[in-house]
């Protein structure tokens, strides 16, 4: 019985891998999902994980776009699904930048071109904080630091984001 079971699963396994691309893709999807399921048990914090945010690299333009994705966040007592947000674009050097929307003043969400008065800047609705496109805080507005940048990785043409880090550390 045991042996039979093993044979079937081995054949299934071969099937998966030999199907080629499909198999690889399935594995690519399954592995992160498994990690997602297992990780919280092994290490309570899911910090440092990169998540496929559902944005193809070819769709990233020089215009910052708002993207959202869901992650499970956990502290000692609660487990909750949170929506993460980033503003993603290609800068003049062709590098991909993913800004965290969290204002460095007191934490409201900034919006690209969020105020008609300040085109080409991030705007914070709470106390009129502003940032240039590269994330640098505009002098004489409340924020004292540039916007954080998400750690990033590209796999199979898709953008993966990790944790937001102060600029220069991502």
């Amino acid at each position: 019985m045991n042996e039979k079971k093993q044979q079937v699963s081995r054949r299934q396994f071969l099937n998966y891998t030999l199907t080629g691309v499909g198999g690889f893709m399935a594995a690519g999807v399954l592995v992160p999902m498994l990690r997602f399921a297992v990780d919280p048990v092994l290490q309570p914090s899911s910090k440092g994980d990169f998540v496929n945010v559902g944005l193809a690299v070819e769709d990233i333009t020089s215009e910052p776009q708002r993207i959202e994705w869901q992650v499970v966040q956990e502290d000692a007592w609660n487990k909750s699904e949170v929506t993460k947000v980033a503003w993603v674009f290609r800068n003049d050097d062709g590098e991909i930048i993913a800004h965290s929307p969290i204002c460095k003043h007191l934490g409201c969400f900034v919006t690209w071109e969020g105020s008609e008065d300040y085109p080409n800047e991030y705007f914070c609705p709470c106390h009129d904080g502003r940032y240039y496109k590269d994330g640098t805080n505009v002098p004489n507005t409340p924020p004292m630091a540039p916007l954080d940048e998400y750690e990033q990785r590209i796999e199979n043409g898709m953008l993966y984001l990790g944790d937001p880090k102060p600029r220069g550390e991502a």
């Binding site: 959202e68 929506t83 204002c103 003043h105 007191l106 934490g107 409201c108 969400f109 914070c124 609705p125 709470c126 106390h127 409340p142």
Partner: protein
């Protein structure tokens, strides 16, 4: 900002920047079996909405824990207590108070409330995991942010 220790520590430092109070207004009642799931569903939805709103405006908006009222009791009693709640909060330098609810019937008592009542349409049966639910939350939050900004 939320009613949690870490946020309050920050609040005490920065209170001059945080001038807006958000009070989620929620009904509760165990008395009518067919209504229970419905009430819980709405509690969830309004909680998610106000949490999202708080997240976007965290630096200027303080979200209080929800105010629960007994569904079907006399409103005047609840209004008095709710106003007392808000007046107490306004010992801090809050300038704007927004009360969010799914319950249209509060509209009748709007004038009696010490704050701006915001009625938010509810869903009835969309699964919280469904895209429709998320899109709904997003669009409501966007509108609420715009609305609150217009008071600032």
């Amino acid at each position: 900002m939320k009613w949690i220790k870490a946020d309050l520590e920050k609040y005490l430092q920065e209170k001059k920047y945080i001038d807006t109070l958000l009070v989620p207004l929620l009904p509760i009642s165990f008395s009518n079996d067919p209504e229970l799931t419905n009430l819980a569903y709405k509690t969830n939805l309004l909680t998610t909405l106000s949490n999202e709103l708080e997240r976007e405006l965290a630096g200027r908006l303080f979200q209080t824990p929800p105010y629960f009222y007994l569904e079907g009791t006399e409103r005047s009693k609840e209004i008095e207590r709710l106003n007392e709640w808000i007046m107490d909060a306004c010992k801090q330098p809050f300038k704007h108070t927004f009360i969010v609810t799914h319950d249209m019937s509060w509209k009748k008592n709007e004038q009696a409330l010490t704050g701006t009542l915001l009625w938010i349409p509810s869903l009835t049966s969309v699964d919280p995991q469904a895209d429709e639910y998320k899109t709904f939350i997003r669009s409501q939050v966007e509108q609420l942010v715009e609305f609150i900004r217009s008071y600032w």
